[in-house]
Protein backbone atom coordinates (compact mmCIF):
# COMPACT_ATOMS: atom_id res chain seq x y z
CA UNK A 1 0.00 0.00 0.00
CA UNK A 2 1.53 3.34 -1.03
CA UNK A 3 1.47 5.95 1.69
CA UNK A 4 2.18 8.89 -0.58
CA UNK A 5 1.29 12.06 1.27
CA UNK A 6 -1.23 14.23 -0.53
CA UNK A 7 1.06 16.72 -2.28
CA UNK A 8 0.54 20.42 -1.90
CA UNK A 9 0.84 22.01 -5.30
CA UNK A 10 2.21 25.46 -6.09
CA UNK A 11 0.24 28.47 -7.24
CA UNK A 12 1.01 28.15 -10.96
CA UNK A 13 0.12 24.44 -10.96
CA UNK A 14 -3.22 25.12 -9.29
CA UNK A 15 -3.75 28.09 -11.64
CA UNK A 16 -4.00 25.69 -14.60
CA UNK A 17 -5.19 22.46 -12.94
CA UNK A 18 -7.36 23.11 -9.88
CA UNK A 19 -10.96 22.08 -10.43
CA UNK A 20 -10.29 20.83 -13.96
CA UNK A 21 -9.52 17.15 -14.23
CA UNK A 22 -9.94 15.71 -17.75
CA UNK A 23 -13.64 15.44 -18.54
CA UNK A 24 -14.24 11.72 -17.84
CA UNK A 25 -16.86 10.92 -20.50
CA UNK A 26 -14.94 12.25 -23.52
CA UNK A 27 -11.41 12.76 -22.21
CA UNK A 28 -11.55 16.45 -23.23
CA UNK A 29 -8.53 18.12 -21.66
CA UNK A 30 -9.68 21.75 -21.69
CA UNK A 31 -12.79 22.46 -19.62
CA UNK A 32 -15.87 22.03 -21.85
CA UNK A 33 -18.39 24.87 -22.03
CA UNK A 34 -21.62 23.42 -20.68
CA UNK A 35 -23.88 25.89 -22.44
CA UNK A 36 -26.83 24.16 -20.92
CA UNK A 37 -29.72 25.13 -18.67
CA UNK A 38 -30.90 21.86 -17.13
CA UNK A 39 -29.92 18.29 -16.29
CA UNK A 40 -31.76 14.97 -16.65
CA UNK A 41 -32.65 13.09 -13.45
CA UNK A 42 -32.12 9.34 -13.24
CA UNK A 43 -35.52 8.93 -11.57
CA UNK A 44 -37.90 10.64 -9.15
CA UNK A 45 -35.84 9.65 -6.11
CA UNK A 46 -32.68 11.09 -7.70
CA UNK A 47 -34.56 14.32 -8.34
CA UNK A 48 -35.80 14.43 -4.74
CA UNK A 49 -32.27 13.88 -3.38
CA UNK A 50 -30.91 16.68 -5.53
CA UNK A 51 -33.67 19.12 -4.60
CA UNK A 52 -33.18 18.26 -0.90
CA UNK A 53 -29.40 18.88 -1.30
CA UNK A 54 -28.80 15.28 -0.16
CA UNK A 55 -26.66 14.40 -3.16
CA UNK A 56 -24.16 16.34 -5.25
CA UNK A 57 -25.27 17.03 -8.79
CA UNK A 58 -26.84 19.46 -11.19
CA UNK A 59 -30.46 20.55 -11.43
CA UNK A 60 -30.57 23.87 -13.22
CA UNK A 61 -27.80 26.25 -14.28
CA UNK A 62 -29.19 29.14 -12.26
CA UNK A 63 -27.87 27.23 -9.22
CA UNK A 64 -24.86 25.30 -10.49
CA UNK A 65 -23.19 24.59 -13.83
CA UNK A 66 -20.26 22.23 -14.56
CA UNK A 67 -18.15 24.90 -16.32
CA UNK A 68 -18.79 27.51 -13.64
CA UNK A 69 -18.02 24.88 -10.98
CA UNK A 70 -14.49 24.50 -12.40
CA UNK A 71 -13.91 28.23 -12.00
CA UNK A 72 -15.38 28.11 -8.50
CA UNK A 73 -13.07 25.32 -7.35
CA UNK A 74 -10.09 26.99 -9.00
CA UNK A 75 -10.70 30.26 -7.16
CA UNK A 76 -11.24 28.42 -3.87
CA UNK A 77 -7.92 26.65 -4.41
CA UNK A 78 -5.99 29.82 -5.30
CA UNK A 79 -7.39 31.75 -2.34
CA UNK A 80 -7.01 28.84 0.08
CA UNK A 81 -10.77 28.70 0.68
CA UNK A 82 -13.29 25.90 1.21
CA UNK A 83 -15.65 26.78 -1.63
CA UNK A 84 -16.75 29.49 -4.02
CA UNK A 85 -20.02 30.84 -5.35
CA UNK A 86 -19.55 32.61 -8.67
CA UNK A 87 -21.99 35.27 -9.80
CA UNK A 88 -22.77 37.51 -12.75
CA UNK A 89 -20.60 40.42 -11.56
CA UNK A 90 -18.53 41.66 -8.65
CA UNK A 91 -21.50 43.69 -7.48
CA UNK A 92 -23.75 40.64 -7.34
CA UNK A 93 -21.01 38.77 -5.44
CA UNK A 94 -21.29 41.49 -2.79
CA UNK A 95 -25.08 41.11 -2.82
CA UNK A 96 -24.82 37.30 -2.37
CA UNK A 97 -22.29 37.56 0.46
CA UNK A 98 -24.34 40.06 2.45
CA UNK A 99 -27.63 38.31 1.65
CA UNK A 100 -26.43 35.22 3.54
CA UNK A 101 -25.53 37.09 6.71
CA UNK A 102 -27.78 40.17 6.91
CA UNK A 103 -31.37 40.62 8.08
CA UNK A 104 -33.44 43.79 7.67
CA UNK A 105 -32.25 46.35 10.24
CA UNK A 106 -28.72 44.91 10.36
CA UNK A 107 -25.54 46.93 9.85
CA UNK A 108 -22.01 46.35 8.58
CA UNK A 109 -18.85 48.40 8.75
CA UNK A 110 -16.93 49.21 5.57
CA UNK A 111 -13.78 51.14 4.84
CA UNK A 112 -14.44 54.65 3.54
CA UNK A 113 -11.71 54.05 0.94
CA UNK A 114 -13.56 51.82 -1.48
CA UNK A 115 -14.32 51.53 -5.17
CA UNK A 116 -17.00 54.20 -5.82
CA UNK A 117 -19.50 51.66 -7.14
CA UNK A 118 -19.33 49.77 -3.85
CA UNK A 119 -19.86 52.99 -1.87
CA UNK A 120 -23.05 53.63 -3.81
CA UNK A 121 -24.27 50.01 -3.58
CA UNK A 122 -23.61 49.82 0.18
CA UNK A 123 -24.63 53.36 1.09
CA UNK A 124 -27.69 53.80 -1.11
CA UNK A 125 -29.10 50.68 -2.78
CA UNK A 126 -28.60 48.28 0.16
CA UNK A 127 -30.72 50.67 2.24
CA UNK A 128 -33.73 49.35 0.36
CA UNK A 129 -33.17 45.95 2.01
CA UNK A 130 -32.86 47.62 5.41
CA UNK A 131 -29.10 46.98 5.42
CA UNK A 132 -27.07 49.92 6.78
CA UNK A 133 -23.41 50.49 6.09
CA UNK A 134 -21.21 52.49 8.47
CA UNK A 135 -18.22 53.84 6.54
CA UNK A 136 -15.16 54.49 8.69
CA UNK A 137 -11.46 55.20 8.18
CA UNK A 138 -9.71 51.86 8.74
CA UNK A 139 -6.41 53.68 9.31
CA UNK A 140 -7.86 55.53 12.34
CA UNK A 141 -7.16 53.55 15.51
CA UNK A 142 -10.39 52.38 17.21
CA UNK A 143 -12.58 53.66 14.33
CA UNK A 144 -13.84 50.15 13.52
CA UNK A 145 -14.31 49.13 17.14
CA UNK A 146 -16.18 52.36 17.92
CA UNK A 147 -18.59 51.70 15.06
CA UNK A 148 -19.55 48.20 16.27
CA UNK A 149 -23.15 47.74 17.39
CA UNK A 150 -25.12 44.64 18.42
CA UNK A 151 -26.66 44.77 14.93
CA UNK A 152 -23.28 44.81 13.14
CA UNK A 153 -22.91 41.58 11.14
CA UNK A 154 -19.70 42.03 9.16
CA UNK A 155 -16.61 44.13 8.48
CA UNK A 156 -15.74 44.87 4.84
CA UNK A 157 -12.65 46.26 3.12
CA UNK A 158 -10.56 45.94 -0.04
CA UNK A 159 -7.12 44.35 0.35
CA UNK A 160 -5.74 46.87 -2.13
CA UNK A 161 -8.29 49.63 -2.60
CA UNK A 162 -9.42 51.00 -5.96
CA UNK A 163 -8.16 53.50 -6.97
CA UNK A 164 -6.14 55.21 -4.22
CA UNK A 165 -3.22 52.81 -3.70
CA UNK A 166 -4.49 52.11 -0.17
CA UNK A 167 -3.47 48.83 1.48
CA UNK A 168 -5.69 47.63 4.34
CA UNK A 169 -4.25 46.26 7.58
CA UNK A 170 -6.15 42.99 7.16
CA UNK A 171 -4.72 41.35 10.29
CA UNK A 172 -5.87 44.23 12.49
CA UNK A 173 -9.38 44.22 10.99
CA UNK A 174 -9.55 40.42 11.33
CA UNK A 175 -8.69 40.63 15.04
CA UNK A 176 -11.54 43.09 15.63
CA UNK A 177 -13.98 40.94 13.66
CA UNK A 178 -12.96 37.79 15.53
CA UNK A 179 -13.40 39.52 18.89
CA UNK A 180 -16.85 40.77 17.83
CA UNK A 181 -17.92 37.32 16.55
CA UNK A 182 -18.57 38.57 13.01
CA UNK A 183 -16.87 37.76 9.69
CA UNK A 184 -14.27 39.89 7.93
CA UNK A 185 -15.05 40.21 4.22
CA UNK A 186 -12.17 41.30 1.98
CA UNK A 187 -12.45 42.29 -1.67
CA UNK A 188 -9.29 40.98 -3.34
CA UNK A 189 -10.02 42.12 -6.90
CA UNK A 190 -7.09 44.53 -7.24
CA UNK A 191 -4.41 42.33 -5.67
CA UNK A 192 -5.64 38.94 -6.95
CA UNK A 193 -4.63 35.78 -5.07
CA UNK A 194 -1.28 35.95 -6.87
CA UNK A 195 -0.24 39.00 -4.81
CA UNK A 196 -2.32 38.55 -1.64
CA UNK A 197 -4.33 35.78 -0.01
CA UNK A 198 -6.50 37.52 2.61
CA UNK A 199 -7.61 34.24 4.23
CA UNK A 200 -3.98 33.70 5.33
CA UNK A 201 -4.24 37.03 7.20
CA UNK A 202 -7.55 36.22 8.90
CA UNK A 203 -10.25 37.10 6.37
CA UNK A 204 -13.32 34.85 6.54
CA UNK A 205 -14.78 35.62 3.11
CA UNK A 206 -12.98 36.89 -0.01
CA UNK A 207 -14.83 38.63 -2.84
CA UNK A 208 -13.81 39.20 -6.43
CA UNK A 209 -14.87 41.01 -9.49
CA UNK A 210 -13.50 38.33 -11.84
CA UNK A 211 -14.09 40.86 -14.64
CA UNK A 212 -10.70 42.42 -13.85
CA UNK A 213 -7.31 40.70 -13.59
CA UNK A 214 -8.70 37.15 -13.24
CA UNK A 215 -10.33 37.24 -16.67
CA UNK A 216 -7.65 39.66 -17.82
CA UNK A 217 -8.99 40.18 -21.29
CA UNK A 218 -11.84 42.60 -20.77
CA UNK A 219 -14.26 40.04 -22.22
CA UNK A 220 -16.38 38.71 -19.38
CA UNK A 221 -18.28 40.07 -16.42
CA UNK A 222 -18.17 37.97 -13.28
CA UNK A 223 -17.94 37.87 -9.51
CA UNK A 224 -17.01 35.38 -6.82
CA UNK A 225 -17.66 34.78 -3.12
CA UNK A 226 -14.83 32.62 -1.76
CA UNK A 227 -15.59 31.20 1.69
CA UNK A 228 -12.69 30.25 3.95
CA UNK A 229 -14.94 27.71 5.70
CA UNK A 230 -13.32 28.87 8.95
CA UNK A 231 -16.04 31.10 10.41
CA UNK A 232 -18.22 29.53 13.12
CA UNK A 233 -21.75 30.60 12.13
CA UNK A 234 -23.17 28.92 15.21
CA UNK A 235 -21.01 30.79 17.80
CA UNK A 236 -23.84 33.28 18.47
CA UNK A 237 -27.42 33.81 17.34
CA UNK A 238 -26.61 36.58 14.88
CA UNK A 239 -26.67 34.57 11.66
CA UNK A 240 -30.10 32.91 11.46
CA UNK A 241 -29.85 32.66 7.65
CA UNK A 242 -27.00 30.17 8.06
CA UNK A 243 -27.36 28.68 11.54
CA UNK A 244 -31.11 28.55 12.21
CA UNK A 245 -33.83 26.58 10.38
CA UNK A 246 -34.12 28.22 6.94
CA UNK A 247 -37.76 28.84 5.98
CA UNK A 248 -36.79 29.06 2.29
CA UNK A 249 -35.50 25.45 2.53
CA UNK A 250 -38.10 23.50 4.56
CA UNK A 251 -36.38 24.45 7.81
CA UNK A 252 -32.95 23.10 6.82
CA UNK A 253 -30.14 24.37 9.09
CA UNK A 254 -27.21 24.98 6.71
CA UNK A 255 -24.53 25.25 9.41
CA UNK A 256 -25.64 22.00 11.08
CA UNK A 257 -26.07 20.09 7.82
CA UNK A 258 -23.06 21.34 5.86
CA UNK A 259 -20.57 22.66 8.43
CA UNK A 260 -17.68 24.44 6.73
CA UNK A 261 -19.53 24.14 3.40
CA UNK A 262 -22.57 26.09 4.69
CA UNK A 263 -21.94 29.50 3.11
CA UNK A 264 -21.14 28.09 -0.32
CA UNK A 265 -24.17 25.77 -0.22
CA UNK A 266 -26.30 28.76 0.82
CA UNK A 267 -24.79 30.89 -1.96
CA UNK A 268 -25.98 28.44 -4.60
CA UNK A 269 -29.11 26.93 -3.06
CA UNK A 270 -30.62 30.16 -1.72
CA UNK A 271 -28.61 33.10 -3.07
CA UNK A 272 -28.42 32.17 -6.74
CA UNK A 273 -31.70 30.27 -6.65
CA UNK A 274 -33.75 33.16 -5.27
CA UNK A 275 -31.84 36.27 -6.35
CA UNK A 276 -30.72 34.83 -9.68
CA UNK A 277 -27.44 36.65 -10.60
CA UNK A 278 -25.85 33.58 -12.20
CA UNK A 279 -22.56 33.72 -14.09
CA UNK A 280 -22.90 32.67 -17.74
CA UNK A 281 -20.99 29.43 -18.53
CA UNK A 282 -19.22 31.16 -21.43
CA UNK A 283 -18.00 33.86 -19.06
CA UNK A 284 -16.81 31.20 -16.63
CA UNK A 285 -14.87 29.57 -19.48
CA UNK A 286 -13.24 32.87 -20.54
CA UNK A 287 -12.29 33.51 -16.92
CA UNK A 288 -10.82 30.01 -16.56
CA UNK A 289 -8.66 30.73 -19.62
CA UNK A 290 -7.63 34.06 -18.15
CA UNK A 291 -6.58 32.53 -14.84
CA UNK A 292 -4.29 30.08 -16.69
CA UNK A 293 -1.91 33.03 -17.27
CA UNK A 294 -2.60 34.97 -14.05
CA UNK A 295 0.85 34.66 -12.45
CA UNK A 296 2.74 35.66 -15.58
CA UNK A 297 0.39 38.54 -16.34
CA UNK A 298 0.50 39.89 -12.78
CA UNK A 299 4.29 39.85 -12.79
CA UNK A 300 4.30 41.88 -16.00
CA UNK A 301 1.47 44.19 -14.86
CA UNK A 302 3.39 44.97 -11.66
CA UNK A 303 6.78 45.49 -13.38
CA UNK A 304 5.21 47.83 -15.91
CA UNK A 305 3.28 49.72 -13.24
CA UNK A 306 6.45 50.30 -11.24
CA UNK A 307 8.24 51.68 -14.32
CA UNK A 308 5.36 53.98 -15.26
CA UNK A 309 4.84 55.18 -11.67
CA UNK A 310 8.54 55.96 -11.32
CA UNK A 311 8.51 57.87 -14.60
CA UNK A 312 5.47 59.91 -13.54
CA UNK A 313 6.87 60.71 -10.11
CA UNK A 314 9.85 62.35 -11.79
CA UNK A 315 7.82 64.25 -14.40
CA UNK A 316 7.74 68.05 -14.03
CA UNK A 317 4.00 68.31 -14.81
CA UNK A 318 2.94 65.65 -12.33
CA UNK A 319 1.90 66.95 -8.90
CA UNK A 320 1.88 63.59 -7.10
CA UNK A 321 1.69 59.80 -7.63
CA UNK A 322 -0.11 57.41 -5.27
CA UNK A 323 1.29 53.91 -5.82
CA UNK A 324 1.94 51.52 -2.96
CA UNK A 325 5.04 50.30 -4.80
CA UNK A 326 6.80 53.65 -4.45
CA UNK A 327 8.79 54.37 -1.28
CA UNK A 328 6.97 57.74 -1.18
CA UNK A 329 3.64 55.96 -0.50
CA UNK A 330 2.45 55.97 3.12
CA UNK A 331 1.24 52.43 2.41
CA UNK A 332 4.59 51.14 1.10
CA UNK A 333 5.62 49.31 4.30
CA UNK A 334 2.17 47.72 4.67
CA UNK A 335 2.18 46.73 1.01
CA UNK A 336 5.48 44.92 1.53
CA UNK A 337 3.86 42.96 4.34
CA UNK A 338 0.62 41.96 2.61
CA UNK A 339 1.59 41.78 -1.06
CA UNK A 340 4.19 39.44 -2.48
CA UNK A 341 5.56 39.57 -6.01
CA UNK A 342 4.47 43.12 -6.82
CA UNK A 343 2.27 46.05 -5.84
CA UNK A 344 -0.56 45.80 -8.35
CA UNK A 345 -1.02 47.77 -11.53
CA UNK A 346 -3.77 50.27 -10.71
CA UNK A 347 -2.79 53.62 -9.27
CA UNK A 348 -3.54 57.32 -9.44
CA UNK A 349 -1.64 60.51 -10.12
CA UNK A 350 -2.44 64.20 -10.23
CA UNK A 351 -1.52 66.64 -12.98
CA UNK A 352 -0.55 70.19 -12.11
CA UNK A 353 -3.44 72.35 -13.26
CA UNK A 354 -6.24 70.26 -11.73
CA UNK A 355 -9.50 69.13 -13.36
CA UNK A 356 -9.04 70.64 -16.86
CA UNK A 357 -5.37 69.66 -17.17
CA UNK A 358 -6.24 66.14 -16.02
CA UNK A 359 -9.03 65.69 -18.55
CA UNK A 360 -6.70 66.94 -21.30
CA UNK A 361 -4.14 64.24 -20.48
CA UNK A 362 -6.84 61.55 -20.56
CA UNK A 363 -8.07 62.74 -23.95
CA UNK A 364 -4.55 63.09 -25.41
CA UNK A 365 -3.46 59.49 -24.88
CA UNK A 366 -3.23 57.25 -27.95
CA UNK A 367 -2.22 53.90 -26.44
CA UNK A 368 -4.10 54.12 -23.13
CA UNK A 369 -7.80 53.36 -23.62
CA UNK A 370 -10.17 55.88 -22.03
CA UNK A 371 -12.72 53.59 -20.38
CA UNK A 372 -14.18 52.51 -17.05
CA UNK A 373 -12.49 49.23 -16.21
CA UNK A 374 -9.31 47.94 -14.62
CA UNK A 375 -7.24 44.79 -14.87
CA UNK A 376 -7.25 44.50 -18.65
CA UNK A 377 -4.18 43.29 -20.58
CA UNK A 378 -4.38 46.72 -22.27
CA UNK A 379 -3.47 49.89 -20.42
CA UNK A 380 -6.46 51.97 -19.35
CA UNK A 381 -6.89 55.57 -18.25
CA UNK A 382 -9.79 57.27 -16.51
CA UNK A 383 -10.79 60.45 -14.70
CA UNK A 384 -12.73 58.97 -11.71
CA UNK A 385 -14.32 62.25 -10.58
CA UNK A 386 -16.26 62.57 -13.83
CA UNK A 387 -17.00 58.84 -14.28
CA UNK A 388 -16.80 55.94 -11.76
CA UNK A 389 -16.95 58.15 -8.66
CA UNK A 390 -19.39 60.64 -10.18
CA UNK A 391 -22.31 59.66 -7.91
CA UNK A 392 -20.33 60.52 -4.78
CA UNK A 393 -20.16 63.83 -2.93
CA UNK A 394 -16.98 65.91 -3.22
CA UNK A 395 -16.04 64.86 0.30
CA UNK A 396 -16.60 61.16 -0.46
CA UNK A 397 -14.51 61.50 -3.64
CA UNK A 398 -11.61 63.08 -1.77
CA UNK A 399 -11.76 60.38 0.92
CA UNK A 400 -11.77 57.65 -1.71
CA UNK A 401 -8.74 59.18 -3.42
CA UNK A 402 -10.79 60.23 -6.43
CA UNK A 403 -10.65 64.03 -6.20
CA UNK A 404 -10.93 66.46 -9.12
CA UNK A 405 -7.26 66.32 -10.20
CA UNK A 406 -6.98 62.52 -9.95
CA UNK A 407 -6.24 60.35 -12.97
CA UNK A 408 -6.48 56.56 -12.61
CA UNK A 409 -4.26 54.23 -14.59
CA UNK A 410 -4.57 50.48 -14.99
CA UNK A 411 -1.26 49.45 -16.47
CA UNK A 412 -1.38 46.63 -19.00
CA UNK A 413 1.22 44.21 -20.25
CA UNK A 414 2.42 46.24 -23.26
CA UNK A 415 6.05 47.24 -23.87
CA UNK A 416 6.68 49.65 -20.98
CA UNK A 417 8.65 52.17 -23.07
CA UNK A 418 5.60 52.58 -25.33
CA UNK A 419 3.38 53.35 -22.34
CA UNK A 420 5.85 55.90 -20.99
CA UNK A 421 6.17 57.58 -24.40
CA UNK A 422 2.37 57.84 -24.74
CA UNK A 423 1.99 59.44 -21.30
CA UNK A 424 4.96 61.74 -21.89
CA UNK A 425 3.41 63.04 -25.09
CA UNK A 426 -0.02 63.40 -23.49
CA UNK A 427 1.46 65.39 -20.60
CA UNK A 428 2.90 67.74 -23.30
Amino acid sequence: MTRRKTPEYGFETRMVHAGAQPEPVTGARQTPIFQNTSYVFHDADDAASLFNLQSFGFIYSRLTNPTTAVLEERLASLEGGRGTTCSASGHSAQLLAFFAIMEPGDRFIASNKLYGGSVTQFGKTFQKFGWHCDFVDFDEPDAITNALTPKTKAIFCEALANPGGVVTDIEAAAAIAREAGIPLIVDNTMATPYLCRPIEWGADIVLHSTTKFLSGNGTSMGGAVVDSGLFDWGQNDRFPGLAAPEPAYHGLNFWESFGDMALTMHGHAIGLRDLGPTMAPMNAFQTILGIESLAMRMQRHCENAMKVATFLENHARVAWVRYAGLPSSPYHARAQKYLSGGFGSVFTFGVKGGYEAGLKVVESCCLFSHLANIGDARSLILHPASTTHRQLTTEQRDTAGAGDDVIRLSIGVETPEDLIRDLNEALG
Partner: protein
Protein backbone atom coordinates in the same frame (compact mmCIF):
# COMPACT_ATOMS: atom_id res chain seq x y z
CA UNK B 1 -3.46 18.69 16.50
CA UNK B 2 -6.20 17.41 14.22
CA UNK B 3 -5.29 14.17 12.49
CA UNK B 4 -4.58 14.17 8.77
CA UNK B 5 -5.25 11.28 6.44
CA UNK B 6 -3.91 10.63 2.96
CA UNK B 7 -6.32 10.48 0.05
CA UNK B 8 -4.95 6.99 -0.62
CA UNK B 9 -5.93 5.79 2.87
CA UNK B 10 -9.45 7.21 2.68
CA UNK B 11 -9.91 5.80 -0.83
CA UNK B 12 -8.80 2.36 0.41
CA UNK B 13 -11.31 2.40 3.27
CA UNK B 14 -14.17 3.53 1.03
CA UNK B 15 -13.29 0.79 -1.50
CA UNK B 16 -13.00 -1.98 1.11
CA UNK B 17 -16.31 -1.06 2.70
CA UNK B 18 -19.57 -2.53 1.41
CA UNK B 19 -21.82 -2.28 4.47
CA UNK B 20 -21.87 0.51 7.07
CA UNK B 21 -23.46 0.44 10.51
CA UNK B 22 -24.53 4.04 11.13
CA UNK B 23 -24.80 4.74 14.87
CA UNK B 24 -27.07 7.72 15.54
CA UNK B 25 -28.98 7.52 12.25
CA UNK B 26 -32.09 9.69 12.24
CA UNK B 27 -35.41 9.27 10.48
CA UNK B 28 -35.82 13.04 10.05
CA UNK B 29 -34.94 14.10 6.52
CA UNK B 30 -33.32 17.41 7.58
CA UNK B 31 -30.75 15.69 9.80
CA UNK B 32 -27.15 15.36 8.54
CA UNK B 33 -27.16 11.59 9.19
CA UNK B 34 -30.16 11.17 6.90
CA UNK B 35 -28.33 13.13 4.17
CA UNK B 36 -25.25 10.95 4.52
CA UNK B 37 -27.24 7.69 4.63
CA UNK B 38 -29.24 8.51 1.53
CA UNK B 39 -26.14 9.56 -0.42
CA UNK B 40 -24.14 6.48 0.57
CA UNK B 41 -27.06 4.23 -0.41
CA UNK B 42 -27.11 5.88 -3.84
CA UNK B 43 -23.41 5.15 -4.20
CA UNK B 44 -24.03 1.45 -3.67
CA UNK B 45 -23.30 1.08 0.05
CA UNK B 46 -25.66 -0.77 2.32
CA UNK B 47 -26.26 1.39 5.40
CA UNK B 48 -27.76 -0.21 8.50
CA UNK B 49 -29.12 2.32 11.02
CA UNK B 50 -28.42 1.93 14.74
CA UNK B 51 -30.56 4.00 17.12
CA UNK B 52 -32.07 2.58 20.32
CA UNK B 53 -34.88 5.15 20.27
CA UNK B 54 -36.06 3.96 16.89
CA UNK B 55 -35.22 0.25 17.08
CA UNK B 56 -37.68 -1.90 15.15
CA UNK B 57 -38.60 0.97 12.84
CA UNK B 58 -37.29 1.68 9.38
CA UNK B 59 -35.11 4.41 7.88
CA UNK B 60 -34.74 4.65 4.09
CA UNK B 61 -35.91 1.05 3.69
CA UNK B 62 -33.55 -0.41 6.32
CA UNK B 63 -34.50 -1.91 9.70
CA UNK B 64 -33.22 0.09 12.68
CA UNK B 65 -31.31 -1.82 15.40
CA UNK B 66 -30.79 -0.79 19.03
CA UNK B 67 -27.12 -1.79 19.23
CA UNK B 68 -24.26 -2.88 16.99
CA UNK B 69 -24.50 -6.39 18.44
CA UNK B 70 -28.15 -6.66 17.37
CA UNK B 71 -27.29 -6.35 13.66
CA UNK B 72 -27.51 -9.88 12.27
CA UNK B 73 -25.30 -9.17 9.24
CA UNK B 74 -21.63 -8.47 8.60
CA UNK B 75 -20.48 -4.85 8.23
CA UNK B 76 -17.01 -3.46 7.58
CA UNK B 77 -17.49 0.06 8.96
CA UNK B 78 -19.01 1.64 12.05
CA UNK B 79 -19.91 5.28 11.29
CA UNK B 80 -20.44 7.26 14.49
CA UNK B 81 -23.01 10.09 14.32
CA UNK B 82 -22.93 10.77 18.06
CA UNK B 83 -21.07 13.23 20.28
CA UNK B 84 -17.35 12.80 20.89
CA UNK B 85 -17.78 11.40 24.43
CA UNK B 86 -20.22 8.71 23.24
CA UNK B 87 -17.72 7.56 20.64
CA UNK B 88 -15.65 5.73 23.27
CA UNK B 89 -18.26 3.18 24.38
CA UNK B 90 -19.43 2.66 20.79
CA UNK B 91 -15.83 2.01 19.74
CA UNK B 92 -15.31 -0.42 22.64
CA UNK B 93 -18.43 -2.30 21.59
CA UNK B 94 -17.22 -2.37 17.97
CA UNK B 95 -13.79 -3.73 18.99
CA UNK B 96 -15.45 -6.57 20.90
CA UNK B 97 -17.58 -7.37 17.84
CA UNK B 98 -14.85 -6.80 15.22
CA UNK B 99 -14.01 -10.41 14.52
CA UNK B 100 -17.59 -11.70 14.58
CA UNK B 101 -18.96 -8.91 12.34
CA UNK B 102 -15.96 -8.31 10.11
CA UNK B 103 -15.52 -4.68 11.28
CA UNK B 104 -12.37 -3.07 9.85
CA UNK B 105 -12.96 0.68 10.25
CA UNK B 106 -14.18 3.04 12.96
CA UNK B 107 -15.30 6.27 11.28
CA UNK B 108 -16.22 9.29 13.41
CA UNK B 109 -18.25 12.04 11.78
CA UNK B 110 -17.39 15.72 11.36
CA UNK B 111 -16.86 17.22 14.81
CA UNK B 112 -16.56 13.79 16.48
CA UNK B 113 -13.06 13.30 17.91
CA UNK B 114 -12.10 10.82 20.62
CA UNK B 115 -8.37 10.12 20.85
CA UNK B 116 -8.79 7.38 23.47
CA UNK B 117 -11.27 5.52 21.27
CA UNK B 118 -8.95 5.94 18.28
CA UNK B 119 -5.96 4.52 20.15
CA UNK B 120 -7.96 1.51 21.38
CA UNK B 121 -9.30 0.77 17.90
CA UNK B 122 -5.88 1.07 16.27
CA UNK B 123 -4.36 -1.20 18.92
CA UNK B 124 -7.04 -3.73 17.99
CA UNK B 125 -5.95 -3.53 14.34
CA UNK B 126 -8.80 -1.36 13.06
CA UNK B 127 -8.49 1.68 10.79
CA UNK B 128 -9.70 4.96 12.32
CA UNK B 129 -10.90 8.15 10.69
CA UNK B 130 -12.09 11.05 12.87
CA UNK B 131 -13.76 14.40 12.18
CA UNK B 132 -14.69 13.51 8.59
CA UNK B 133 -17.87 12.61 6.73
CA UNK B 134 -17.78 9.59 4.41
CA UNK B 135 -20.29 11.31 2.11
CA UNK B 136 -18.09 14.38 1.73
CA UNK B 137 -14.94 12.27 1.34
CA UNK B 138 -16.58 10.02 -1.28
CA UNK B 139 -17.78 13.11 -3.15
CA UNK B 140 -14.43 14.87 -2.85
CA UNK B 141 -12.40 11.94 -4.17
CA UNK B 142 -14.83 11.24 -7.00
CA UNK B 143 -14.98 14.86 -8.23
CA UNK B 144 -18.61 15.28 -7.14
CA UNK B 145 -17.81 17.78 -4.40
CA UNK B 146 -16.26 19.96 -7.11
CA UNK B 147 -19.69 20.24 -8.74
CA UNK B 148 -20.77 22.43 -5.85
CA UNK B 149 -17.80 24.77 -6.24
CA UNK B 150 -15.80 23.21 -3.39
CA UNK B 151 -12.05 22.94 -3.09
CA UNK B 152 -11.42 19.18 -3.31
CA UNK B 153 -7.65 19.55 -3.09
CA UNK B 154 -7.44 16.98 -5.88
CA UNK B 155 -5.11 17.81 -8.78
CA UNK B 156 -4.94 15.17 -11.49
CA UNK B 157 -4.30 15.01 -15.24
CA UNK B 158 -5.51 11.40 -15.38
CA UNK B 159 -8.78 10.53 -17.03
CA UNK B 160 -11.08 8.99 -14.45
CA UNK B 161 -12.76 5.71 -15.36
CA UNK B 162 -16.52 5.85 -15.14
CA UNK B 163 -18.68 2.77 -15.06
Amino acid sequence: MPETYTDTEIMRILRETKTIAMVGASAKWQRPSYFAMKYLQQKGYRVIPVNPGQAGGEILGEMVYATLADIPEQYEMVDIFRNSAAALSITQEAIALAEEKGIRTIWMQLGVINDEAAALARAAGLSVIMDRCPKIEFGRLNAELSWGGFNSGVISARRRRIS
